[in-house]
């Protein structure tokens, strides 16, 4: 019985067949995969826009596309990457798939709502794609008024609607995660036995739930203003466009933490597994996630230092901004300290973790520059800021995402990816990334404003370097797409726990059965307990 059954054991992948069984699934694992396909599609759409932007900037005089097209390119790059790739990226794919597994639950608390939130993302995405195909939108992803409400002649409303709908997708995911973590933990899974990935997602969910509605209502107001010409932000009626910026950044600054916190959660898992040690200062790292989520709501005004915001408010927001630096620093120091006296493996996910820590360190430290009033006046709205947030959102969030995808690929598919190719692509991505974005810090301090189609000749050398880096980066991103697909058929069979990690997700089959565990585990240890045996899942008793 055993030998025959192992071959054909029922998994979430083969339990049912057909398109309908996927499109109507309530299984968090299948929904995670639906998200994976969706955001991969949007990642490459956004990537095409990025490629065109970088190609255009090879020359200073705007030879490739018109200014109109260029403005649409950077707008759609931002909209697609932020709202349709980065925000759903880790939470909706890896989070969806692994959060219930890691806490020992059969599913999320609200599986139907989970499916609904995927549909909302798709519907939102269709609006956005319609806007792009119909002629594009040129307001910048920030939709500043009054340009977006009264001056732009592009598809603002369709895009805004898309973001509005996708926002509800994000809210529902967050709601689902919070309830799941509170109510669905396996017996013995106390808060301080939770993997840090779960802590990070809990913190992320708080932001999604508390921040996103404000973006939604802001979009509604912009929508009304553009449709009916009522004035909420319209200076012609005495409205204040700076109010729009306040409401927009109330969400959109914490939104950066929606992107980076889950990546930090992934990195905590990777660092622990691949050095075979408990995360140094577990409690501090866990609370740092929550602290970042909470403090992240107090700092939005640092996007408005030169906007005409009051001097007093500028000082308050700069002061508060520095408080976010502390929990971020705590995380980096603790990850590094975890390596001390560890048993460090160089498997691909760990390479991504190293890359993440390095790039996030640079991204975070340059955050100190832009939080600093005296410096920010000069560098805001320049390539310095562009470089800074790409270090966080690409160097941080995407490195974390790819690291997590490699780490859990064996669990998701039951197959190993090809290690050699994966290491190569991790290296290519790291190099390409730095070559793309490091020159942009220098460009920014020199005074190169962002969203410029045509620029002075003296900036060209640095732009050429950046574009060269972008081509390397593009190759790096295409490689995993190829070898992941290849591995589905040709990859080595992974087994339950290829990394000899401790989490509950490694104690079930790869790929997991429909209800995750044949028997709900009873948890007897904290996450990352490597004190007794190597591997074979020691968290469950």
């Amino acid at each position: 019985m055993i030998t025959a059954a192992v071959e054909e054991k029922e998994t979430y992948l083969n339990a049912s067949h057909g398109v309908k069984s996927w499109l109507l699934t309530k299984d968090h694992k299948r929904i995670g995969l639906l998200y994976l396909f969706t955001i991969t599609f949007f990642f490459f759409v956004g990537g095409v826009f990025a490629t065109l932007i970088r190609l255009e900037l090879l020359t200073p005089h705007g030879n490739l596309v018109s200014s109109e097209t260029y403005n649409k390119l950077f707008t759609m790059h931002g909209v697609v990457m932020v709202f349709f790739f980065l925000i759903p990226s880790i939470p909706a794919t890896l989070g969806n798939f692994f959060l219930p597994l890691m806490i020992g639950a059969r599913d999320l608390a609200f599986p139907r709502i989970n499916l609904l939130s995927w549909y909302l993302l798709v519907i939102g995405g269709l609006f956005a794609i319609f806007a792009m195909v119909a002629g594009g939108v040129d307001t910048g992803w920030t939709f500043y008024t009054p340009y977006s409400t009264s001056y732009s002649n592009t598809w603002v409303i369709a895009t805004a609607l898309g973001i509005f709908v996708a926002g509800f997708s994000s809210i529902l995911t967050g709601l689902n995660f919070i309830v799941t973590v509170h109510r669905m933990r396996a017996p013995g899974m106390t808060w301080f036995r939770l993997p840090l990935f779960v802590w990070a997602h809990y913190a992320t969910a708080l932001i999604q739930v508390l921040g996103t509605p404000v973006l939604a209502v802001t979009i509604v107001l912009v929508f009304c203003e553009r449709m009916f010409h009522i004035g909420i932000f319209d200076p012609a009626l005495g409205g204040d466009p700076v109010l729009f910026q306040h409401l927009f950044w109330f969400y959109s600054h914490p939104a950066v933490y929606i992107m980076i916190l889950p990546a930090m959660g992934v990195v905590s898992e990777l660092v622990s597994t691949f050095s075979r040690k408990a995360i140094f200062g577990y409690g501090f790292v866990a609370f740092a996630s929550v602290a970042i989520a909470v403090l992240g709501f107090l700092v939005w005004g640092h996007h408005l230092f030169v906007s005409g915001q009051s001097l007093f408010a500028g000082m308050v927001f700069s002061f508060l901004s520095y408080f976010v630096a502390i929990p971020s620093a705590i995380k980096v120091f603790n990850w590094t300290a975890t390596l001390y006296k560890g048993s460090i493996s160089y498997a691909t996910p760990m390479l991504y973790a190293f890359g993440f820590i390095g790039l996030f360190t640079i991204g975070g430290l340059t955050g100190l520059f832009v939080a600093c009033l005296g410096i920010d006046v000069h560098v805001t709205d320049t390539y310095f800021v562009v470089a800074h947030f790409h270090y966080i959102m690409v160097g941080g969030a995407i490195m974390g995402y790819l690291g997590g995808l490699h780490y859990w690929w064996p669990k998701i598919t039951g197959r190993m990816y090809p290690e050699g190719w994966a290491k190569l692509s991790a290296g290519v991505i790291f190099l390409g990334f730095n070559l793309t974005f490091f020159p942009q810090f220098i460009l920014g301090y020199l005074g190169m404003p962002r969203r410029y189609h045509v620029y002075p000749d003296e900036f060209q050398v640095l732009h050429v370097l950046s574009t060269a880096g972008a081509s390397v980066l593009a190759v790096g991103y295409l490689m995993p797409l190829v070898y992941f697909i290849w591995s589905l058929k040709y990859g080595a069979i992974a087994g339950r726990n290829p990394w000899k990690a401790t989490g509950l997700e490694w104690q079930t089959d790869s790929p997991p059965p429909v209800h995750n565990f044949d028997e709900i585990p009873v948890v007897t240890h904290g996450a990352y307990d490597y004190s007794t045996t190597v591997g074979e899942g020691v968290q469950g008793g």
Binding site: L247, G301, S310, L311, A313, V316
Partner: protein
């Protein structure tokens, strides 16, 4: 399964009458010129009404600590949004800038 706490109809009716009285009160007081205090009183009465609805009609007083925390957290976040936004608009022109 724990049985829910069933409040008496009397309790609900008392809360209902209190709410109606407060509605009358806030409307009446609005016509008295109290300067800046008008707003304070209106908002205080509104807060009391909200508390009654939440505690009794929405059963917050019988709820878990977690539910109470969620309610307070929501109000705190609203306060953050309003106060830090006003930190700009109320201080335009301060510090001679």
């Amino acid at each position: 399964m724990t049985t829910p706490h069933v409040d008496s109809v009397k309790t609900y009716a008392a809360v209902w009458i209190a709410l109606l009285l407060m509605t009358g009160l806030t409307t009446g007081v609005a016509y008295i010129d109290l300067g800046a205090f008008s707003v304070v009183i209106a908002l205080t009465i509104a807060a009391c009404k909200m508390a009654l609805v939440a505690l009794f009609f929405m059963h917050v007083r019988h709820s878990t600590k977690l539910t109470k925390l969620v309610v307070l957290g929501g109000l705190l976040w609203l306060a953050i949004l309003l106060s830090l936004t006003m930190a700009d608009f109320a201080t335009r022109g301060w510090l001679g800038a």
